[in-house]
C-alpha cells in the first residue's frame, strides 16, 4: 500500500497534538499529520480530556522555557496524566525533541537529556539510521534505512546508565541512531528510543519538518525536497488500521 492510498483510506484517524506554554512546533506537527492523511486535533496542556484521539504527538519547543529541566514542568500537566494512562493502554505516543524530554520526565521512556556536550545550540540536517522499523511510528521504514531530518536542540544529549543502555539495545528499543556525526554527545549515538511495547517513541530530531517537498532538508531529489519525516505519520496511521 502506498503512502497515497494510506492517506485516502485512513483519513478518519484522529491524531492529537498537545500545546504546552512554550511549545513551538505544534502547527508543523499538525500539518504533518494532515499531509500524511490523518486528522490533527489540537489539545491543550491544561485539559485532561484527550477528546478521544487515536494517538498523540508531543511536539518540540521550549515548554516553560526549559526552566528547572527540559520537560520537567510539562510532565505534570493534566493532559500528561491522560497521555500516561492512554500510553500504558497501548495508544501510540510520539515525543519530538521537547516532547521526548517530557516523555522521559513522565517515565514513559527511560533515560534523560542533558545539555549538549559542546554546550551550543545545534541546528542541522541530520542523517539517522532507523534501528527498529517495528514500532507504531516507524513501520513504514525498513530497519537499517537512512533518513535525513532536521535536528535543533540545546539539551539533546541522551544519557542513561549502562544497564539501561544495554537493556534498550538488547530489547531492540533503540529506534534511531545518529549517522556520520554524533551532534550532541548522546550515549551510543542514540537519537530516539521506544518503550517495550513499541507504541511510545521519542527522538530529538524533527520528522515534522521534513514532510513536504520545498520545505524539507536537501535531498537527492533537489534542494529542500526531502520528505523523510513523513513516514512517522503514515506509520502511525497504518498501525491504527491494523490495531
Amino acid at each position: 500500500m502506498s503512502a497515497d492510498t494510506a492517506g485516502t483510506t485512513l483519513s478518519s484517524a484522529r491524531i492529537g497534538v498537545i500545546t504546552f506554554p512554550g511549545t513551538l512546533d505544534d502547527r508543523d506537527a499538525a500539518r504533518a499529520v494532515r499531509l500524511a492523511g490523518g486528522e490533527p486535533v489540537s489539545l491543550f496542556h491544561a485539559d485532561g480530556d484527550l477528546q478521544g484521539v487515536d494517538a498523540v504527538v508531543l511536539p518540540g519547543g521550549f515548554s516553560y522555557g526549559d526552566y528547572l529541566r527540559a520537560g520537567a514542568i510539562s510532565r505534570f500537566a493534566p493532559a500528561m496524566d491522560a497521555v500516561v494512562d492512554a500510553a500504558r493502554g497501548g495508544m501510540p505516543v510520539l515525543g519530538i525533541c521537547n516532547g521526548f524530554q517530557v516523555l522521559t520526565e513522565a517515565h514513559l521512556l527511560p533515560g534523560s537529556m542533558v545539555k549538549n556536550d559542546h554546550l551550543h545550540f545545534v541546528c542541522r540536517e541530520q542523517i539517522l539510521s532507523v534501528e527498529n522499523a517495528g514500532t507504531a511510528w516507524t513501520n513504514r521504514y525498513t530497519t537499517g534505512q537512512q533518513i535525513t531530518i532536521p535536528l535543533k536542540n540545546q539539551d539533546g544529549q541522551f544519557v542513561a546508565d549502562e544497564r539501561t543502555l544495554d537493556e534498550l539495545e538488547g530489547e531492540g528499543r533503540v529506534a534511531f541512531r545518529y549517522v556520520g556525526t554524533n551532534p550532541n554527545g548522546s550515549r551510543r549515538d542514540i537519537a530516539g528510543i521506544s518503550n517495550a511495547a513499541g507504541n511510545v517513541v521519542g527522538l530529538m530530531p524533527h520528522p515534522e519538518h521534513a514532510v513536504e517537498a520545498g520545505f524539507g532538508p536537501d535531498s537527492a531529489d533537489g534542494r529542500r525536497a526531502g520528505t523523510d519525516g513523513l513516514g512517522f505519520f503514515t506509520s502511525v496511521l497504518a498501525s491504527l488500521v491494523h490495531a
Binding site: 505534570f76 542533558v114 554527545g185
Partner: protein, 90 residues
Amino acid sequence: MGRVVVEVMPKPEILDPQGKAVVGALPRLGFTQFSGVRQGKRFELEVDGEVTPEVLEAARQAAGTLLSNPVIEDVVRVADASEESTEVSA
C-alpha cells in the same frame, strides 16, 4: 517566615558540560587552583509559618519528584534554612 533549602547536583557518573565549561574558564582568570567544577542547583522554598517536620518531609518529596530527576541528579541536601542569612559573608 521559614525557609527550606534543597540542593541538587548532577550524578557523579553524568558528564556535567556546564561545570566543564566553568573549569575551563577559571585558569584564564588566573584561578589555577581548581581542577574540577560541578554545577548544581539550590532551591529556596519559603513557608509562611515554621519549618515543621511535616514541612521538611513535603520538601523532601518535592525534591524527589519535581525538583530533581533521579536519572541524572541527586538531591544532596534538604534542610531548614530559616536561620541562615541570605547575605553571603565576605
